[in-house]
């Protein structure tokens, strides 16, 4: 099965060939590297930008205003925070122009901890991003969703923020990509992973002549923006999560099941808009809700979900709904003891789930 990096690459390739993508750019996005996480290797329209996030977002907006379809990358979401004003501009372009222009662009960036990234390669961005009107926001936890959400993002005429969890980029999915069911892992790798080398010069040399062998059969398989996925069904507790904490929560659910707690686990996948119907239906049924993410807790996106849940499912709630989020600290420390204490771990999920599931008034 393919990795998330491969899935994104394939979707972008499909976008270049079939959906009018004109530019895929950002720091080290073009050859020879093809992105620090390899997501843009071998793409026809990929190019390297100057080291300048403000320039990247502004340039993408300008391209969109000129009717192009750009995909820009911010190398780490940790470095997107100098562009919030520009993201706001992109988000208000359609509205402020009373419908004349749309900022038809996709911005992609990796989020979250889990790779010993220390203070500046562990940030989350979804909470601040969700506060910026005019954008749609997606955040897959599986390769197949990454593909389907990217296709949807490219088809959407609005600015879409494509976040993806850096800790899961190399994890292989368990679902085959529609159209590529016959292709083996190693075949795919041989076809679309750029050749490695021991030195940058060697890498550059090897890749100068390298051409990816894009598999045929790619489809416009979409995950509609706004549609969550029920990962597991259960009756005692609803866990709402996304990104890196979906697989973690899934593991926890197995353990909880053994303890007799049956969890309805929802992977949101889209954060704006998000799947209110599925969440409300579930919480109304279980009466108990736990939201899990790793962003810092004040004005956390989970608080938005919880506010909506409390408003809509108040009379069904049997225990205080809870947020399990990152610690309220200015950074993720590099030492693993610090990182583990700062973002929810398996044991934190189990404890929080037990608390919410077992509270009796």
């Amino acid at each position: 099965m393919l990795t998330m990096a491969q899935a994104i690459r394939l979707a972008l390739h499909y976008g270049e060939e079939h959906l009018g993508v004109t530019d895929i750019f950002g720091e080290d996005v073009g050859p020879p590297l093809g992105g620090v996480f390899t997501a843009t290797q071998g793409l026809r329209t990929a190019w390297n930008s100057p080291l300048d996030e403000r320039g990247i977002i502004a340039h993408a907006l300008g391209l969109a205003l000129a009717g192009q379809k750009p995909v820009c990358e911010i190398q780490f979401c940790d470095y997107i925070f100098n562009t919030i004003d520009l993201l706001k501009l992109a988000g208000n372009t359609h509205w402020t122009s009373a419908g004349q222009y749309n900022a038809n662009m996709v911005c992609m960036t990796v989020v979250g901890a889990g790779i010993h990234g220390s203070v500046y390669h562990s940030h989350s961005f979804e909470s601040i991003m969700a506060h910026i009107p005019g954008w749609k926001i997606v955040l897959p936890s599986r390769p197949i969703d990454a593909y389907g959400l990217m296709i949807s993002a490219l088809k959407d005429p609005n600015p879409v923020m494509f976040l993806y969890p850096k800790a899961l980029i190399r994890t292989r999915g368990t679902e085959p990509l529609p159209g590529l069911e016959g292709l083996s892992e190693s075949d795919l790798k041989k076809r679309i992973d750029a050749p490695a080398g021991r030195t940058l010069n060697e890498v550059a040399k090897l890749r100068e002549t390298w051409q990816p062998q894009w598999p045929s059969g790619l489809t416009d398989y979409q995950v509609p923006i706004g549609q969550a996925r029920r990962v597991r069904s259960g009756d005692d507790l609803t866990i709402i999560s996304y990104a890196r904490h979906v697989p973690l929560a899934e593991l926890a659910c197995r353990e909880l099941a053994a303890e007799g707690i049956s969890v309805d686990l929802i992977d949101l996948r889209s954060l704006y808009p998000w799947d209110r119907e599925l969440v409300f239906e579930s919480v109304s049924r279980t009466g108990r809700a736990l939201v899990i993410n790793e962003d810092t807790p004040v004005c956390n996106f989970g608080e938005h979900i919880l506010r909506e849940i409390t408003e809509h499912c108040f009379y069904q709630l049997q225990a205080p709904p809870r947020l399990l989020a990152g610690a309220d600290v200015p950074g993720i420390g590099l030492n693993p003891r610090l990182e583990n204490a700062s973002v929810p771990q398996q044991s934190d999920i189990l404890n929080a789930a037990r608390t919410v599931a077992q509270t009796v008034a």
Binding site: H59, G62, L63, S97, A98, Y101, P157
Partner: protein, 327 residues
């Protein structure tokens, strides 16, 4: 050298622009509008820019990333001043923003006038995107971006310069800085160690010109020749134009009239020149100005009869539902 027809056309366009600004200012003082910001004092340069520009809706036309003082340019490009008055009157008929944004915040897709944004200087960086599309497309369409002097202190100014000089991707951008020597109340000379904004462009290897923006002929010439370079050589050029700020920064900055005579009025100056050349007569000029003032008053009456946007329309145009038509 400008021919007589063009000279007259420029003069009349400047008159219209001035009468429009006067009306907008009056509206900001009456109950007919709110905040005013605009370009009285920049008509000479900005009119020439509009006369020489090529508005339209394709990559072969020019793209405009304007400062908020470009009414004269819009007028010269053919804007009906009624539309600006509608915007000042915050009517739903404001074709630029539907009653949503301040006056001077133009946006007209048919002319490639992208939304004027209040965020100073972001346009310098955004402009590189439309220019890249034009560079790739070929042809002679260019991107034009205007800004004030104080705003060049924002990093976005040099970001634009840098992105428009990428090897192999030198971009067809005409950068214009209208230097009125002030940012609100702060003198240029107080916060800029370099006496010319143009010097900064030079550091990026960008050709630059300095011009007296109150001088129609000089402005016309420098814009025309810069445009020729940008259009044909597909590389950036910067013009720094020294202009006046006849009504201060805006309607809300402390003390907004400048003392009589303290700054050159480009309109009187040009009128006097054409009088001297015998191209117009004094009475003619006065009557043109009167007519335009009258017309702006009539426009206001018309705009006031037009509907306000509906409260629930705030939810319109948050998200587009279809792809935009291609350039």
């Amino acid at each position: 050298m400008l021919d007589s027809d063009t000279k007259l056309r420029i003069l009349r366009s400047m008159i219209t622009a001035r009468a429009l600004e006067e009306r907008l200012i009056m509206m900001s003082k009456s109950a007919d509008g709110f905040f005013w910001i605009g370009g009285p004092g920049e008509e000479a340069f900005n009119t020439c820019l509009g006369v020489l520009a090529r508005p339209g809706a394709t990559l072969d036309h020019d793209f405009f990333h304007f400062h908020y003082r470009n009414s004269a340019t819009m007028v010269a490009m053919g804007m009906d001043p009624l539309d600006a008055i509608r915007q000042m009157a915050v009517r739903v008929t404001d074709p630029f923003t539907g009653g949503r944004n301040f006056c001077g915040h133009y946006c007209r897709r048919q002319w490639n006038v992208v939304p004027v944004t209040s965020t100073i200087q972001t346009q310098s960086a955004v402009a590189t995107g439309t220019a890249r599309a034009q560079k790739r497309h070929g042809g002679t369409g260019i991107t034009i971006t205007t800004s004030g002097d104080a705003g060049t202190a924002e990093g976005d100014f040099t970001i634009g310069l840098n992105w428009s000089t990428q090897p192999g991707w030198e971009l067809p951008i005409l950068y214009i800085v209208t230097n009125n020597k002030y940012g609100i109340s702060t003198r240029y000379s107080e916060v800029h160690g370099h006496s010319r904004v143009a010097d900064i462009a030079a550091g990026f290897g960008i050709e630059s010109h300095v011009v007296d923006g109150n001088d129609v002929s000089a402005s016309y010439e420098v814009i025309a020749s810069a445009m020729q370079v940008v259009r044909n050589e597909r590389r950036p050029v910067l013009i720094e134009a020294f202009v006046s700020r006849l009504h201060g920064h805006s309607s809300s900055s402390g003390g907004n009239r400048v003392p009589e005579g303290a700054e050159v009025d480009p309109l009187s100056r040009y009128a006097e020149q054409l009088l001297g050349e015998g191209l117009i007569e004094s009475a003619q000029f006065d009557s043109w100005l009167d007519q335009e003032r009258q017309r702006m008053g009539d426009f206001l009456q018309q705009a006031k009869n037009e509907p306000h946007p509906a409260p629930e329309s705030i939810y319109d145009h948050i998200f587009a539902t279809t792809e935009p038509s291609k350039c």
